[in-house]
């Protein structure tokens, strides 16, 4: 387990899991991004799972940081799955026209891990 910012990053096999249970402030989100990428750089991983079940609200800044993390990880050869978004959060983001292109989504952690297994098994995608 690696803790630098407030959010612990867990390793499950070749996958990194960050379960966000605190309110995600701008700085916390940026710290999580930096932590994730540095763990990825040092230890490597085949997939990232970001669990946001605990978040009641996600503003566009945090949404952008999460999406960017996914895109950055993709550049480093890793797929990212965002899991557990609440209906209200999804509705708000969609209404604001904010599409989190570049990250995969799943209903819960279990499905996220299953999706990663499929993605890693499949040939690398061009995007």
């Amino acid at each position: 387990m690696t803790v630098r910012g407030q959010i612990p990053i867990l390793r499950i096999g070749s996958t990194l899991l960050a379960s966000i249970q605190v309110e995600l402030k701008d700085t916390t989100a940026q710290a999580l991004q930096a932590d994730m990428l540095s763990v990825l750089e040092k230890e490597g991983a085949r997939g990232l799972v970001l669990d946001i079940t605990g978040l009641d609200t996600v503003d566009t800044f945090v949404a952008r940081v999460l999406t960017d993390t996914g895109r950055m990880a993709r550049l480093m050869g890793t797929h990212t799955v965002l899991v557990g978004m609440r209906p209200e959060v999804a509705a708000t983001l969609a209404r604001m026209g904010f599409s989190m292109q570049g990250v995969h989504t799943a209903l819960n952690v279990e499905e996220g891990l299953a999706l990663l297994a499929r993605l890693v098994g499949a040939r690398p995608m061009p995007t």
Binding site: L82, V83, P87, A90, A94, R95, L107
Partner: protein
């Protein structure tokens, strides 16, 4: 019956409304003072006026008589009426007074006294008060002024009562609308992880938002992988509707599920392409059947024919 303070707030009956309404009804402090001065007159004639009111009008009319078939109810109504009558001559017209008048309106509404009974009865009542007033005080500038003050407060009272009638009607409509809304977004589970939402009727912005919210909530609740949105019953699909559909699809994707749009008629396809709407990010099918097959294959199932 709703709590009358809450009800006052909902109808916007506050100090500002009170003063504006009094101004419009020209119900001045002099009027209130005149009414207060008439209090002894009211007390002297209270019984006679109310008795005449019931005996000449309410008990003579076959329909209004039906409200008073029970003696206890009748006695209660007469007592309340006497109290009500005296309050006209209290010389006070503040928020408490308004609240009291509002309660009269809601009570009438609740027991089914229609506005026509209310207004007809009040007109008769007003004639009775006037005739008693002029009989006792004669026709003079003074009694004319008194009569006018009585008219003002009576009409002021009626305005509040009528508004409670209207508000009750509006609330009934709102209840019906919410019932219709519930009926208009039936999300059906058709397989373990597949939901179906058949949309029927016009989609406006409000409805589109309800559809989205209901869909997203159900996707999470049922942990659905796929939701089929059937728009065969939507008469017009224009850019706005298409935009709502795209937003909903994106929101569903954010949850980790997939939307399949089915029931796209030839005409709808033509319109959308001519309008330049790009639905290429969505899974689309012409028929619900194809959509169902696609949904099942996404969840690792299939419909097969049993061995021949």
């Amino acid at each position: 019956m709703p709590n009358s303070r809450d009800y006052m707030a909902r109808l916007g009956f506050d100090a500002q409304e009170l003063s504006s309404r009094r101004h419009f009804f020209q119900l001045t402090d002099e009027d209130l003072a005149r009414l207060a001065a008439l209090r002894p007159f009211a007390e002297r004639h209270n019984d006679a006026i109310i008795d005449a009111f019931y005996n000449e009008l309410l008990l003579q009319h076959p329909e209004s008589r039906l409200f008073f078939t029970d003696q206890a109810v009748f006695r209660r109504a007469v007592t309340a009426q006497k109290r009500y009558f005296l309050q006209l001559f209290s010389g006070v017209c503040d928020l408490d007074y308004m609240e009291d008048r509002l309660r009269v309106g809601t009570t009438h509404q609740r027991i089914g006294v229609a506005p026509k009974w209310y207004l007809g009865a009040y007109a008769h009542y007003l004639r009775l008060i006037s005739s008693h007033l002029f009989r006792e005080q004669g026709s003079s500038p003074d009694s004319e002024l008194s009569n006018r003050s009585i008219q003002k407060i009576v009409f002021f009272d009626m305005s509040i009562a009528i508004e409670t009638y209207i508000a009750a009607g509006v609330e009934a409509i709102q209840r019906h609308q919410s019932a219709i809304r519930e009926l208009s977004t039936p999300v059906i589970q058709i397989s373990e992880r597949v939901l179906l939402l058949p949309l029927i009727g016009t989609i406006d912005t409000v409805r589109a938002q309800q559809v989205m919210e209901k869909m997203l909530a159900r996707v999470v609740e049922a942990q659905a992988r796929v939701i089929i949105l059937d728009i065969a019953g939507v008469p017009v699909v224009d850019t706005r509707v298409a935009n709502h559909l795209l937003q909903t699809t994106e929101a569903v994707r954010l949850l980790g599920a997939t939307t399949i749009l089915t029931g796209i008629r030839a005409q709808v396809a033509q319109t959308l392409v001519q309008l330049g709407v790009d639905l290429s990010t969505m899974h689309t099918c012409s028929s619900l059947q194809e959509g169902l097959e696609m949904a099942l294959s996404m969840t690792g199932r299939a419909i097969t024919t049993r061995g021949a």
